[in-house]
Symmetry: C2
């Protein structure tokens, strides 16, 4: 809890020093002081600048050491070359926390990075916590702490305290979004921009927001995480206390990631790993700024829908169909009305409208403006509908009545009600928004926002359902290989060897209870024939050498050998071929292996992500994964449910399910193998860079699976 107290000193300071404060009230140096005064900060303020006696009528100190009281928070707004001495003074004065606004550190490259490291060195060995550098600071809206220099605080509107904790690695962008959101009457608990995250990072802030009572919804702009698992752990806590996290990932594309790197100096993992991590941590991913802001609004104003079924009341058939298209794309259901409800609806709406869902009131609405209220109420009362959207346009003469009706509807229901109003009467949107009814001028924007909320509600339901099913192994075997054995295996290889052969990799996989092909290594044709006899025909021969990774490329494989003679010939052919193609490889030994038939080939793998650690991959064999990109990805460790999802979510699952001519493949065997691979990945997460089981043969249902070939890279 000491850590928490220190962050309290940062985010809820009783005293603030502003080092480098100036009378340039439009600039970084002058703005924070102006904001502290303007927004009525309750604690003590100490401007620090040797050139001024007073600033904003407050006594100014020449140096931070001169301040006669304890300081909870010091804001540092000095040129970057002066940051080091100021930080040193702060530490000496036992300032509890600092915010470094100044830029010109890690984000500008190696020189700046060295400079930042010097400051970090001081902070690490102190009791002072640091925010930034290269950040815009933060705003605590409930306690009026505007430790921030962004222009959004210049807007005339007062800061609206509220439930959204807004966390961003991008200062300028969140400043703009904060301004836009406040104009939409969205209230915030905190805005935090973390900058270079030298000490306090986005996960620390997330933890603080999760513990903060006033924060109910969390929005994040993520550019790159230093420690993916720390963030995921926090996100899971957030799920436990039912605070939704909506995250916008900035830098999805390869060019974007590159630009992001130059922008913040942050490491960025692959977008696939982020997607998998967000899924695992049940973070709802938004696709745009608008979606993020809109979902802040919805999550703070509406009750969560208990399903994905949407009812649509519309005055434009075409517009409703556009929404239906988007609903289908995003997984929202637009159920048809059934018997009784359809009858009731037909009594309300005119015959030329449509009594299906969408309920099309048509332009005839102006003859009976009550039909909006009546039809929407019917949908909201139905157990077959989880939320309602009302699509209006113009209707200037009826604006007041319609608004009143919608407000009443929304008061009477616990379901989410949203409004789309194109070309609305003046002020209609604002009035509805103020009454807590999310209102949009574009139908697609509305459906996008609703789908974000539906996704969160879905996560929440599933997470409540699955609380009691951790990811342990069914009929779990003891792992027979311990770390020591693993290390010894590594030593077995020639020094500096980073790759395990197929046979070595399989021994490890076998020790984890993953079934592998029957096989042994032979040093002569005679031994190979003996081994083949033990294994049983047909067999496969493969060159066995730590220096040959791609056995096919060097002619190092003979398939489906039926007789001892074929083994003899095959043995010799492999040696001749490999000597030709890889003359420098140590290659005298051959792996004799049972031949596998009547199976489906799949791929199981581990890849180490720089941000999230081991990532597990599953796909169908061969071209499916490599060329068609049909594979699933999850962050290790896998729960059983995740392993099941991985198998189900690839398009090729239909192949595993069997077709007209083929039976169902043993998907349980895949799930077991995935869970065991996940366990291996976690136990040696610092060692294994990559594991590639290709193929993992899967037999008919009930008959299991087997590792056909495998390769492991360490580092």
């Amino acid at each position: 809890m000491e850590k928490r107290e220190k962050l309290d000193a940062l985010f809820r300071p009783r005293s603030v020093a502003i080092v480098g404060a100036s009378d340039k009230y439009d600039q970084i140096s002058g703005r924070p002081l102006k904001f502290f005064v303007r927004y009525g900060y309750k604690g003590k303020i100490f401007p620090v600048n040797p050139k001024h006696e007073t600033l904003c009528g407050i006594r100014c100190f020449a140096r931070i050491e001169d301040i006669p009281e304890d300081i909870d928070l010091a804001l540092i707004a000095v040129p970057n070359r002066n940051v080091l001495p100021v930080v040193t003074s702060c530490v000496k004065k036992k300032v509890k926390s600092i915010v470094i606004f100044s830029s010109g550190f890690a984000e500008i490259g190696s020189e700046g990075k060295r400079f930042q490291e010097k400051i970090e060195e001081i902070i690490v060995h102190s009791d002072t916590r640091a925010f930034g550098p290269n950040c815009m600071g933060f705003v605590n809206l409930h306690d009026s702490v505007p430790a921030f220099f962004g222009g959004s605080l210049e807007n005339e509107s007062n800061l609206i305290p509220g439930q959204v904790g807004f966390l961003s690695q991008s200062g300028a962008l969140s400043n703009l979004c904060f301004a836009v959101a406040q104009k939409m009457e969205i209230g915030f608990s905190y805005l935090m921009t973390t900058g270079n995250e030298m000490d306090i990072d986005v996960s620390d802030c997330l933890e603080y927001l999760i513990q903060d009572e006033k924060t109910k919804v969390i929005a994040c702009f993520i550019e790159g995480l230093k420690d993916g698992n720390k963030f995921m752990t926090m996100a899971k806590k957030s799920m436990e206390v039912k605070k939704p996290i909506v995250a916008l990932k900035i830098g999805k594309s390869s060019v974007g990631r590159k630009a992001s790197l130059s922008h913040t100096g942050k490491m960025t993992g692959s977008d696939e790993a982020y997607a998998a991590a967000f899924k695992k941590a049940e973070i709802v991913r938004a696709g745009s700024i608008e979606e993020t802001i809109d979902s802040m609004f919805l999550l703070t104003r509406c009750s969560l829908p208990s399903g994905n079924r949407i009812g649509i009341v519309t005055i434009t058939g075409g517009g409703a169909i556009l929404m239906v298209d988007k609903c289908e794309e995003l997984g929202l259901e637009v159920p048809e009305l059934t018997g009784k409800m359809k009858q009731e609806m037909l009594e309300i709406i005119p015959a030329y409208g449509s009594a299906l869902n969408p309920v099309d009131l048509t332009g005839q609405l102006i003859n009976d403006v009550n039909s909006i209220k009546q039809s929407a109420a019917l949908l909201l009362d139905s157990e077959e509908i989880d939320m309602v959207v009302i699509f209006l346009g113009m209707l200037k003469n009826f604006g007041e009545q319609i608004i009143e009706d919608i407000v009443e509807l929304s008061r009477k229901t616990r379901k989410m009600v949203c409004v789309v109003w194109m070309d609305p009467p003046n002020g209609a949107i604002r009035i509805l928004q103020e009454k807590g009814i999310p209102t949009f001028e574009d139908p697609i924007r509305c459906i996008n926002a609703m789908s974000v909320v539906v996704r969160y509600a879905d996560y929440l339901r599933k997470s409540e359902l699955s609380k009691h099913t951790p990811g342990d192994l069914q009929g779990r075997k003891q792992v027979q290989l311990r770390k020591e054995d693993f290390d010894r295996m590594l030593e077995l290889g020639s020094s500096g060897r980073k790759t395990f052969t197929e046979h070595e990799t399989k021994r490890i996989l076998g020790a984890y209870g993953i079934p592998i092909t029957k096989e042994s290594v032979a040093s002569s044709p005679e031994e190979a024939i003996r081994r083949a006899g033990e294994i049983g025909y047909p067999v496969v021969l493969k060159i066995h050498s730590p220096e040959i990774l791609h056995k096919t490329d060097v002619g190092g494989i003979e398939l489906n050998l039926q007789t001892p003679e074929a083994v003899l010939k095959g043995y010799e052919r492999i040696l001749t071929e490999t000597r030709k193609h890889a003359p420098n490889a140590m290659a005298g030994e051959i792996l004799v292996q049972e031949a596998i038939s009547a199976s489906v080939e799949t791929i199981i793998g581990i890849k180490r992500d720089p941000v999230f650690g081991p990532v597990i991959i599953f796909g169908m064999g061969g071209v499916y994964t490599e060329i068609l990109k049909d594979y699933s990805v999850r962050i290790a460790p896998l729960s059983r449910q995740e392993a099941e999802e991985m198998v189900r979510e690839i398009k090729g699952f239909k192949i595993l399910e069997g077709s007209r001519n083929k039976g169902r493949a043993d998907t349980n065997a895949i799930i077991e193998a995935l869970l065991r691979v996940s366990e291996l990945a976690m136990e040696f997460k610092d060692k294994i860079v990559e594991l590639d089981i290709n193929p993992f043969f899967v037999f008919q249902e009930g008959r299991g699976g087997k590792v056909g070939d495998a390769l492991m890279i360490l580092g």
Copy 2:
């Protein structure tokens, strides 16, 4: 040209009668008259209503027959039961064109449809052209003809005449979009809402707009086309005269299509067919209302970019990266600056910014507000950049200067310049828009709109390049099968037979010059052995019966038979099996066929779409097409370029290109086969419902391909 003249009477009438005009000026009956008066229509107006002496101070007639002059256009705003007599009167009076506002026709089901057909009957046998019913009418903005009852004309703003022809099958939605677009200062030539399209359809309107001199850009909302090819033919004409068509397809999803059907009673083809048709006709497809409206703006204000390379100037790194992500998703390139340009840029922008592209000016911009102009000018001058977007936020104190700078920039360049301005100073967006500079408050919205324009420019470039390459066949063989033969083959089957057997289908394909497997039908085991000897071993045996379509299901196939003995056994086994599984099928004959090896399996097919006619499909064999949905679709007839694209655009193309172990497949053989299949599809487009060539074996490069199995369904 007579047709054109009649449409002139409709869209540019010299006299207008309004049948059912009333003094309820807020309703369908009163609005059109009010609008004609308010917007200063130059021709003669004749209200028709027996209950009034005058309306809006204009003399009113009891019946249309009473009007003593010729009428170019009659608007019909009477209850639907009265439409028939009014139309009859109009025809009698030789009114040149009518617009039927009334609803309650085909869109409400079979009863309304019959009612509509009665009216259609009268129109078809007259010289009168009809618009609607169930439509909002149209507005001709240049000549002030508001034959329209939509509320968008109630807005205070004057109608802004301009270059956009806006064509919509959805009345209410286009009415709303028209209002929104006019508020964005987008000028229109026409707004046309076609409703049930009893006589004049969306393609007729499209033709009119293509010929209209004032229309430069065409926007369409499409719910469902009656005649897809008519529309495509018009769209191609539009491309020839360089008028872009941006289309929003309403009813993409299955639920959406169903809703659309009930909304307008229109037939809707598959979304895949629409996508293929738009591609073929070079219609740019928009994804939302916003994209459609925004691209209207861009296309009327900006020059077309000569490539897809975008330069970004930004004050927020994070915001720029979001745009970069979107650019990559939409195929826009954000090239890095090269040596000299990078140097010049570094001189302009501060060291802590980034001199890559995006050019990040950071918050330091406020110290040197000129840097926007300088950096954007540098990008615009470069030959490596085709268009520029400037991302701003707030900057209230510098708004005027920045606006001035951007206007100057845009005046000096022929390249497209767009602005994103989040939380802008009051009025900034409007001022920039009025100066013709597209300005957005959201970065994703901006990139979406720019990408629509880039796609059109790309179509235009490609269409100019490929003008001289029609889709004729290389080394074209004479088609040996003529329609008569085809018909005779059909007769060959038992009466009412709708399906051709594999052997019959292949004969037809062979006649079109598509290579097929060597094969013959045998009626006894002895004959089968003889045929096998002629064909050469190994062979395949297949049951040959018009009543057995799925040969595998009944055990009707024996693969890879190497010897006469195997053929004998196989023959008997097939007959036993099929008698067991399909006891009622006439099945005494067996097809003897060469066995194919060393090939890649693909699928080639024809499907008849209700809207666009024959559609050609290509994919990789087996699960690739069926399960992984990896296939390409085009509307027949195919040009060679289209056939090439079809082969290239599937993900599985990489399999055809060959991998480490396998050579390149003969993609030319596929292209030839596709072109010949396309020709077959066109010649018998009324006959063939479906053709399924599965597999089409493709051999190594230079070795061609062969139809392995095929099935044709007629109807």
